[in-house]
Point group: none
Amino acid sequence: MASVEIVSIGTELLLGQILDTNSTYISQKLAEIGVDVFFKSSVGDNETRIENCIRQAFERADIIIVTGGLGPTVDDVTKNAVVKVLGKRLFLNEKILEKIKNNFKHRGVSMPESNVSQAMIPHGAIIIDNELGTAPGLLINHNSKIIILLPGVPREMKAMIENNVLPYIKKHYHSDKSEIIKSKVLKVFGMGESMVDAKILDIFKSSSNPSIALLADTTEVKIRLTAKAKDEIFALKLIAPLEKDIRNRLRDSIFAVDDETMEYVVAKLLLQSKLTISVAESHTGGFISHKLTNIPDSSKYFKRGIIAYSDESKVELLKVSPEAIRLFGAVSKQVADAMADGVRRIANTDIGLAVTGIAGPSGEREGKPVGLVYIAMAWKDSSICDEYKLKGDRILIKEQTAQLALDVLRRYLLKMQNVK
Amino acid sequence: MASVEIVSIGTELLLGQILDTNSTYISQKLAEIGVDVFFKSSVGDNETRIENCIRQAFERADIIIVTGGLGPTVDDVTKNAVVKVLGKRLFLNEKILEKIKNNFKHRGVSMPESNVSQAMIPHGAIIIDNELGTAPGLLINHNSKIIILLPGVPREMKAMIENNVLPYIKKHYHSDKSEIIKSKVLKVFGMGESMVDAKILDIFKSSSNPSIALLADTTEVKIRLTAKAKDEIFALKLIAPLEKDIRNRLRDSIFAVDDETMEYVVAKLLLQSKLTISVAESHTGGFISHKLTNIPDSSKYFKRGIIAYSDESKVELLKVSPEAIRLFGAVSKQVADAMADGVRRIANTDIGLAVTGIAGPSGEREGKPVGLVYIAMAWKDSSICDEYKLKGDRILIKEQTAQLALDVLRRYLLKMQNVK
């Protein structure tokens, strides 16, 4: 199978003014039809450097997909650079010029002179119509390799990829031996990257298809299983036994699959169990309730949230005893317990979830450092409360607390489901 | 001045599974100190291809910044590839190993064997401490060029760029002839992109340094002014008159500058005015309170948040009259007003802010479509309430409501400040 190099052109990419979403999109689409991208390059609007970049790409790839630099300004030099590499010249194509002129006429303006450059193309190039803009795409054969030039405007580029480039590559490079790439992501909470690695190291090492990759995020670890196979069904068949093996080892620590979020999983469990919940938050300031209410139909399980930031509000709104706050402090197991129990009683829900902690940067006290967090959960018969010592800035401590609290809830709901 | 090539490593980049935000961030930071990035490359977790990429980078750049592939797994082969190019070998660094072990100890677990690889470094490398993770960064001199290896985890990479890489490059590569690029972003709320465009079109067309770019986000429009000059002071002098002109036309619609968020601006105004606030939320589910408590010292102005999702909770917690809900519905001007007034009285704060609305996808009623939102604000003498008809999915409606509510608060606080 052919290999591809993607070249993104534009000084704004090198200044960090825009994210290169184009090459990410093209990579995804190529992966789906089983085409390998081995390199991506970005280069500014500089003819010599573009030329060098393209020359280099011809050395290491079979198909080169170039985006950007096809506009009408003096900055747009992609075609000039490419024809130098190919040893060709640009000629005016009357048909394309006519199309561009019509495009402007349609908008009620006459074509600026500078747009003539968009109708200049090398002999032998296959023209890719641009339904959404003025610059046509070009596909050029060269020494049994191909180079494809596309505009940098995402929607114009995407339409050409879908309608022209992918069908062309499938037709000319697809063989019975071609394989697609299919990924499945298992999301792990409550275990670090190296811990996950240690638990599945032997699978990791022994498996090449599917291949396994670990990605650590701020609050989770993703295990990505990527299979190559002749179609999606076969790919999923390759993934299944590996997934089973990994699930046997990591158990409940795997909380979600692919794009599922923690709150989505918790919401699903709450809806299935028909249990209701209320939340009392201190340092997370409403973030847990926000997450729980991001899911459609959340009013079926979420009833009330109390953000009790001050001591008085904990006493008045949640019926925490002033003595508990005086004796143990607002950030304590005793107060967390009382908050969870209080909110559950007041809201009359099955579950009460509460957090109290110090998000920083100020608020540190003797024996109570920034990052000290208590998470409590109360239900009819009983309650639990755990202490955590978290690291990071204010936002990160809020985020970690919210995920931890939702995970406590998730594990409880799973257990209830298994008891039944 | 030196030129930089950024190399991003990770197969997930070539499969289009993640966006390369790291290289965009690094590009931005380098542009700010006037360092040119001429090329970016991305390559997968393949030792030979990484080696080729790095070799190539050494041919065309003075400084090579590599991110990713420093993790503890067998996939992480960046260092192996780099030392091949440099003709060096990796040795165990006991000090780093000790640090990594302590990092795990602190979390109450012992270090997995695989993490030893993160303590392997070549002789002569300058070690960049990783305060937020286990893999140290490395800076290596080679034939009067330098190569810098950084972890791919964004927050770890960012800290190293800020604290170590930028100071190093400034110190060793800055010359008198260097031109720096300085951008300033004016953030606009409450006006669409084409409205902003129409208001500043003539400035837009006549200015080349600073250049002007418009970027539309979900809830705001950014106006980016980018100046080239010999230093930051000169660049800011170029930007100042243009900024003044734009501010004269857009007035209070410009709510923030650069990376400032709406909640940051509101928090600053609240702290300056020494006013306190409480929040009653329905469909935003705690999102407004979450934003208001993201800012350090928020306990000085934020006292209580009530998430009254159900009708009963509006009555019980906020003293909204059941008649108002029955007559006008929970999503109505009357109930929004009562919520704002209720939360202000109960929390005994200067300001009460309340929102009620239909975030969808369900919950639509006769005359009350998804996206119908009321935002009310009550203070001692008076109150205001506005109706909005928002578009978008559930999350977007929550986001827009939160920004609108904070903007109502911002404009009120600005007016109070000007009255004084």
